[in-house]
C-alpha cells in the first residue's frame, strides 16, 4: 500500500463535503427567500434592529482570517514553518474575535427582548418574528461552523508544529483552510441578507 497520496482525490472528497454544507445552508436560504417575499417590510424593520457596525467588523474579520489561512498554505509550501504557525494563530484569533463579537451582539438582542419565543417577538407581528427566527437559526448554525472551523485549524496547527504538515503533504491544512473559506463564503451572503436589507 506504499502509494503516494492522491492529493487531488482528497481535495475532491473535501469539496464534495463542502457541497453538502452549502446545501445545508441552502435549505435555510430557501426559507429566507420565501419569507422575504412574504414580509419585505418586516424584514427591513428587522434589519434595522441589527448593528451594522458589528456586522461590518465581523465581515472584515472573517475576510482577513480567510486571507491569513490562504497565506499560511503559501508559507507551508515555501517551507516557512514559523510564518505558517503565526498566520494560523492569527486566523484562530480572528475566529475568536468573531465569536466574541457575535456573543455581544446576541447578548444585546436578548437584552432588547429579541430572542426566540420572546414576548416582544409575539407582539411585533409574524414577519418580525420570522426575521429573527431566521436570524438566530442561520447565524447560530454559522457560529457552529466557525467553531468547527477553529477546531480543524487548531488540529492543523498542532500538525504544523509537530512537522507533520510539510510542503509535500499539507492536505489537512488545505482542507481545514477550504472549510474556513466556506464559513467565510456563507457569511458573505448572510451579512447583506440580514444587516443590509432595506
Amino acid at each position: 500500500m506504499e502509494k503516494a497520496i492522491d492529493k487531488t482525490g482528497v481535495r475532491i472528497g473535501m469539496w464534495i463535503f463542502l457541497y453538502s454544507e452549502i446545501i445545508l445552508f441552502g435549505g435555510l436560504f430557501v426559507l429566507y427567500a420565501v419569507y422575504f417575499h412574504n414580509f419585505p417590510e418586516d424584514f427591513a424593520t428587522g434589519g434595522k434592529e441589527l448593528n451594522r457596525i458589528i456586522g461590518t467588523i465581523n465581515t472584515l474579520v472573517l475576510l482577513i482570517s480567510s486571507f491569513t489561512v490562504a497565506a499560511s498554505i503559501t508559507a507551508v509550501q515555501r517551507q516557512k514553518t514559523g510564518q505558517a504557525i503565526a498566520l494560523i494563530l492569527f486566523s484562530l484569533g480572528c475566529g475568536l474575535l468573531f465569536l466574541v463579537n457575535k456573543y455581544f451582539e446576541w447578548g444585546a438582542k436578548f437584552a432588547h427582548g429579541l430572542y426566540p419565543n420572546s414576548d416582544r417577538l409575539y407582539e411585533e407581528g409574524p414577519g418580525f418574528n420570522i426575521f429573527f427566527g431566521l436570524y438566530y437559526t442561520i447565524t447560530g448554525l454559522h457560529g457552529l461552523h466557525v467553531i468547527i472551523g477553529m477546531i480543524l485549524l487548531s488540529i492543523s496547527l498542532v500538525l504544523v508544529i509537530r512537522g507533520r504538515v510539510t510542503a509535500q503533504r499539507f492536505a489537512m491544512l488545505e482542507n481545514s483552510g477550504l472549510y474556513w473559506h466556506l464559513v467565510d463564503l456563507i457569511w458573505i451572503y448572510v451579512f447583506p441578507l440580514f444587516y443590509l436589507v432595506l
Binding site: W15, A70, L178, H181, L196
Partner: protein, 94 residues
Amino acid sequence: MEEEQEHQLSYRFLALILGGLVVLTAVTVGVSYVDWGFLNVPISLFVASCKATLVLLFFMHIKYEGLAIKVSFISTVIFLAIMISFTFWDVAFR
C-alpha cells in the same frame, strides 16, 4: 497522478485579493445607505457574489482545480438555485 503540480500564490497576490474584498465590502455597506427601491436586494446579492467569486477562485484555489471540481461546484450552485426558484412556483402564485 504525477502531473500533480502545486499552485503557489504569493502573499502579495493574496493581499491584493483581500484588498478587493475589503473594497467590495465597503461598497456594499455604502450602497445600503441609499434606497434603490426594488434593486436593493439584487445589488447587494450581486456584490456578495463578486466577493464569493474572489474567495472561491483564489483563496479556495478553484481556478487551479481540475474539471471535476469546477463542474460539480457549478452543479451544486445550480441545484441550490433550483431549490429556491422552484419553490416560487408555489409561493409566488398562491
